[in-house]
């Protein structure tokens, strides 16, 4: 007589056998994916850094770095890629970011029997691990390991700078402006906030609810940042003029500590560390 337990047992057995076969087949298949599609700009950058750019057959319309990435076929935006465009490129592997790509789309692609990979990295400290995972997924472990080690080395040297900065009497207060009008700044859980923490300075917008909050100008006056970074963008300096005019009594503006910095920190990829180093250079300049 079959009771519920035996059915369950058998089901579990069958499932685990299937799982083992699946695992075995994945492990044993020496073949690496030949046709890659990246749906996020930071993944595209990582793929290029890993030297597998020739295997990238499609990217999102936001993938604009390096220059060569712009010439890859586009499959649509990050939040609304086209399933047809993806399928018609006959990919072996589609790479998603947990940050910006819809989960439903990943499920749909998987439903079409196309392998997928999702990058779950959200912080700078997790970046080396994320790169190693991508390396494993696309069969470029060696290059990934080198890149990851390089980033880890740089992170630890940045941490030394942080210790030095902590030794200073006063912790520097920083504001990172993403867009001046309306005023959008880097808040908690943003890569920039992470970078500022790594640098051991205080992000005066670190206590807001939203990641990229619209920030109160009068609070800037009150919190008196020592340094203001402004992310570079199209005609950014001109747009920022009126804002800086209103902040003229803030220490950062008074002391000429307003810096236009690259947009490296907007993406968690190979360039992110460069962005952090750029900020560090401004912080330590006397």
């Amino acid at each position: 007589m079959l009771n519920i337990y035996t059915i369950r047992k058998q089901a579990a057995l069958i499932l685990s056998i299937c799982g083992a076969i699946l695992l075995f087949s994945t492990l044993s298949s020496a073949e690496v994916p030949r046709r890659l599609i990246s749906l996020a700009p930071n993944i595209t950058e990582i793929l290029f850094a890993l030297g597998v750019q020739d295997r990238v057959v499609g990217v999102s319309s936001f993938c604009d770095f390096p220059e060569e990435a712009k010439r890859k076929p586009k499959v649509g935006g990050m939040s609304n890629p086209s399933i047809e465009a993806v399928i018609s490129l006959r990919p072996d592997l589609v790479l998603f970011s947990i940050d910006g790509n819809p989960k439903e789309f990943e499920e749909r692609v998987r439903g079409m029997h196309i392998k997928t990979f999702t990058l779950r990295t959200k912080q700078i400290a997790e970046l080396p691990e994320g790169i190693r995972q991508i390396g494993a997924a696309v069969g470029a472990r060696q290059r990934a390991e080198e890149l990851a080690l390089d980033i880890e080395r740089k992170i630890s040297s940045l941490e030394q700078g942080r210790r030095a900065r902590h030794a200073l009497a006063k912790r520097q207060k920083v504001l990172f402006i993403i867009w001046p009008d309306p005023l959008i700044v880097a808040g908690p859980r943003s890569i920039t906030d992470d970078a500022l923490r790594l640098l051991g300075v205080e992000n005066i917008a670190g206590d807001t609810v939203s990641t990229y909050p619209k920030y109160s100008i009068e609070e800037i006056l009150r919190r008196a940042p020592d340094i203001i970074f402004i992310g570079k963008g199209n005609g950014m300096d001109r747009v920022s003029d009126s804002l800086l005019g209103r902040l003229k009594n803030v220490p950062a503006v008074r002391n000429g500590k307003v810096f236009y910095v690259s947009d490296y920190l907007y993406r968690l990829g190979p360039r992110t560390i460069k962005g952090v180093e750029e900020l560090a250079g401004h912080l330590d300049a006397r």
């Binding site: 319309s61 936001f62 604009d64 935006g77 993403i178 867009w179 009008d181 309306p182 005023l183 959008i184 808040g187 005066i204 917008a205 206590d207 807001t208 609810v209 939203s210 909050p213 619209k214 920030y215 109160s216 100008i217 009068e218 609070e219 006056l221 009150r222 919190r223 008196a224 963008g233 199209n234 005609g235 950014m236 001109r238 747009v239 003029d241 009126s242 804002l243 209103r246 009594n249």
Partner: protein, 323 residues
Amino acid sequence: MKNITLRIGIVLVLLAVVFLASVVAGPRMINPFTADPISREILFSIRAPRSIVALLMGMALGASGAVLQGILRNPLADPYILGISSGASLSAALGILGGLSIFGSFTIPVFAFIGALFTGGIVGVMGWKRGGIWPERLLLAGVGLSFLFSSLLMLMMTISSDEGLRKAMLWIFGDLSMSDWSRIPYGLFFIAGGIALSAMRARALNALILGDEFAYSLGFSPHRERGMLFVSVGLLTAASVSLGGMIGFIGLLVPHMMRFFIGSDSRGLILSSALGGGILLCLADLISRTIMPPMELPAGIITAIIGSPYFLYLLRKKNVLGV
């Protein structure tokens, strides 16, 4: 009529109270008499101009809503229904994309203003037939243009990868945080002018609400009056969009609230809708920057959140729409 004067007086007092509160209160209270230099700077170069801009925008929206509901003879009309705001947004977006920063920090407001007036002009021309502007044509032309312009804007936003454009368009959806003294003079000029023009034509507006034939019989030229009132609505809407983007709710519902409180006579209604709009936006802006400091919420969301329940209450309790 005496009664109405008294009630408008009450609204004025309320306006003064809300304005003072919005200057003194905020993420932190500031006592103007014992303020340190930073607080004084916050008071005079940030809160005061911002509260004035909120007041002006709210007044423009309230008054133009009252006028537009009258000339279109439609209680659902609001200043944005004529497509003026979508035209403003589209024009601002084109200005940003074209990299035209000839007006410096005024680039977006100037482009928005030009776009708004241009759209108002097109709507006016489309609404024109047989020697006059016809309300139904105006309404349909406005709705049509509005759809066209917003889809063009959506198209631009979709195919453009310019992050700056996306950020800048946040402004068009209602933002008072960048208000400073420099925007006030022209705002004041157009908004005071628009309110004065429509208040002077308030009798004609009453007559137009009765219908063109009544208006004619009462000694008005319906098309000319409607044209003048339309111009004042255009100016008011253009100036308000250019001051702080689009803030919903006020233009649609404040006139209805005031109809309940003051009555439907346009002579009192235009003025009181202006005051009521000013009060509501000033209050909403105060709340939006106070509730979650140092983050600011969009004022338009707050106007709707505090205004709608009150409006729904009126709708249940009183005969607001006159039907």
